[in-house]
């Protein structure tokens, strides 16, 4: 990986001093040019992974992380892209394999990819109202109508939150004295009136 060539060509790219592989922060406006440069001039020909992340204490709240692999020099490189206004340019024109990864990041976090050919939900069904991997979405889920309206009309069923049965138990980090191990997500413990 020729880091000097990358930073010389794109001065706004910030080196994150990655421990396991070279890592850079790239602004959304530079992303396509950087990925193209890495693909055509530095042989990073395979998009290994693209995923959304909700960062802790960072603005913007969401970001996209790309991992590119060079099958020639056998190296990885990581790119962090902040999602300003929840938007990131789509790299699916350069790496068609990004198509589904971007759909997943949209589905799970609500990050919009500008220039994506077909930005639909992929794992959840069309019309699902939430983005489940956001930190404010509870682990058990939220009640939503069944995707099949005709079935719901007959049975009156809905998609219910999962019965957590009290788990998974884990201490909240820090010191043991701070409390008994309990579930990180406590929303399921609230008593609901019997219907």
């Amino acid at each position: 990986m020729d880091a000097a060539a990358l930073t010389a060509r794109f001065p706004s790219v910030r080196d994150l001093a990655g421990k396991d592989m070279p890592a850079y922060e790239v602004a959304g406006s530079d992303l396509l040019a950087v990925v193209k440069h890495l693909r055509d001039e530095q042989s990073f020909d395979l998009l290994a992974d693209l995923c959304g992340v909700e960062w802790k204490d960072r603005t913007p709240r969401f970001g996209v992380v790309l991992h590119l692999l060079s099958t020639a020099s056998k190296e990885y490189v990581r790119l962090h892209v902040p999602a300003v206004d929840d938007r990131v340019p789509s790299v699916s024109s350069l790496h068609p394999g990004a198509n589904w990864h971007e759909r997943e990041a949209y589905d799970m976090f609500g990050i919009r990819f500008d220039g994506h050919p077909d930005l639909r939900r992929i794992l959840m069904w069309d019309g699902y109202p939430y983005h489940p991997l956001r930190k404010d979405f509870p682990l058990a889920g939220i009640e939503v109508p069944l995707p099949a309206a005709d079935v719901a009309a007959v049975t009156g069923q809905a998609v219910e939150p999962a019965p957590m049965m009290g788990g998974p138990f884990v201490s909240h980090g820090g010191h043991m004295s701070e409390g008994e191990p309990a579930a990180l997500d406590q929303s399921w413990t609230e008593e609901r009136p019997k219907s």
Partner: protein, 408 residues
């Protein structure tokens, strides 16, 4: 006789547009034997030819990434069993190595060798099933019986090693749950002889089988460029002629110590993908033999990683220090420093990647799972159109995917 109208082929050809039938939309799956799980293909057909293929996935989505954020690193190990549920041991190992890289833990050589044995046995198990059902999809029922027989033997070995036949949950961050049972390696060695006989048998049944060749040769070729553009990995990438294998090119868990060859295809059609997997089986046996015969002694977990790996049970029950350590580890999880890591392992289905973001403590902040099957299926809209409906079974069988890992 008076000729009223002369009809020729040319007239009919000129009316091609007018004579054209409507395209049909066909739903294949989510419960269809050739889709190997709950995959739905929304197909547009012109007669027997596929015009458009839109895979609909998510029927097996369980939110593994969300679940991971709510539990300690070791609590998540059983969930990794359920990614590629045909090779749970390989998933366990990939996950453990990813977290260890983040924690900066180095496991001893014996542990690495045990994990290599696990990975290669998992590969054999996965490929045997993959080839069996691939052959069944293309009309050869017998092969499945041969390969399943061999898998049964493998599961008996898994059970002896891990206590479970299917959901092994064998690794922990910093080691494995227990050392190898006595006499187990000799059984693995004996198994190697048997599986090679079965592979030869399958070879003779399929490789020059006229029906199998008709169904697979030249069907749905994936060029080198297309494979790279879609990020295919594993056997599917190598069948397209890209000699990339993480075990060779980014060695982990001591793979650099073993002598083996990487099988590479030329055309990238369904038949090449079959050939690559057949060769991988033989190479896996080769690695397995080396690992079994040269199994190093010594510790089987990282003994110095006190904040990562549970202390030995005997000490927990007799000593105060170890008791506290055990209690802290179980309730708070292995203490991993803040940072991020991306690790990919060469799994049977391709590169299984884990991207872990930690803010310290025993629970990951974000755990992303990059499933090779998800990527392999994303290429279908580019590969399937232009083929016949009947070829879909060959294409799906040859890509060897598993929905647990695709939907996560």
């Amino acid at each position: 006789m008076k000729i009223t109208k002369e009809i020729s082929i040319g007239d009919v050809a000129a009316r091609a547009e007018e004579l054209r039938g409507e395209n049909m939309t066909l739903n294949m799956g989510p419960s269809h034997p050739a889709t190997h799980g709950v995959l739905r293909l929304s197909l547009e057909l012109d007669g027997d030819k596929v015009v458009k293929c839109d895979p609909v996935i998510g029927y097996l989505h369980r939110g593994d990434e969300k679940i991971a954020e709510n539990m300690t690193y070791n609590q998540f190990v059983p969930y990794t069993d359920r990614l590629d549920y045909l090779a749970p041991l390989a998933n366990n190992v990939a996950y453990a190595i990813a977290v260890e890289r983040l924690a900066g833990v180095k496991v001893p050589e014996r542990c690495e060798a045990i994990r290599v044995v696990c990975c290669e046995m998992a590969r054999i198990s996965s490929h045997l099933l993959g080839l069996g059902v691939y052959a069944m999809d293309t009309g050869a029922w017998t092969v499945f019986m041969y390969t399943f027989n061999e898998r049964e033997r493998l599961y008996t070995l898994f059970e002896e090693l891990t206590g479970a036949r299917f959901t092994t949950s064998y690794t922990r961050v910093g080691g494995v749950t227990r050392d190898l049972p006595e006499g187990w390696l000799a059984k693995v060695d004996a198994f190697c002889d048997g599986v090679l006989r079965t592979v030869d048998e399958v070879d003779r049944l399929l490789t020059r089988n006229g029906i199998f060749l008709e169904r697979t040769e030249g069907v749905a070729p994936i060029s080198k460029e297309l494979a790279l553009a879609y990020g295919l990995t594993g056997a599917n990438l190598r069948a397209s002629g890209v000699p990339f294998d993480l075990r060779k090119d980014k060695p982990y868990s001591g793979y650099e110590r073993y002598d083996f060859d990487v099988a590479v295809g030329t055309k990238g059609d369904c038949f090449d993908r079959y050939l690559v997997r057949m060769e991988e089986l033989r190479q896996s046996v080769r690695i397995l033999r080396q690992a079994v015969r040269g199994m190093p002694g010594g510790a089987w977990y990282a003994e110095d990683a006190k904040k990562i790996f549970l202390p030995p049970k005997a000490k927990v029950l007799t000593r105060m220090e170890e008791l506290i350590q055990n209690f802290m580890l179980v309730t708070e999880g292995p203490q991993v420093p803040p940072g991020e890591v991306y690790f990919e392992a060469e799994n049977p289905k391709g590169a299984l990647g884990f991207y872990v973001v930690s803010h310290g403590g025993g629970v990951p902040w974000r755990l992303r799972i990059r499933g090779p099957s998800f990527v392999a299926l994303s290429i279908l809209p580019a590969v399937v159109p232009g083929n016949y409906l009947t070829d879909i079974a060959s294409v799906l069988g040859s890509l060897d995917f598993v929905m647990g890992e695709c939907d996560r």
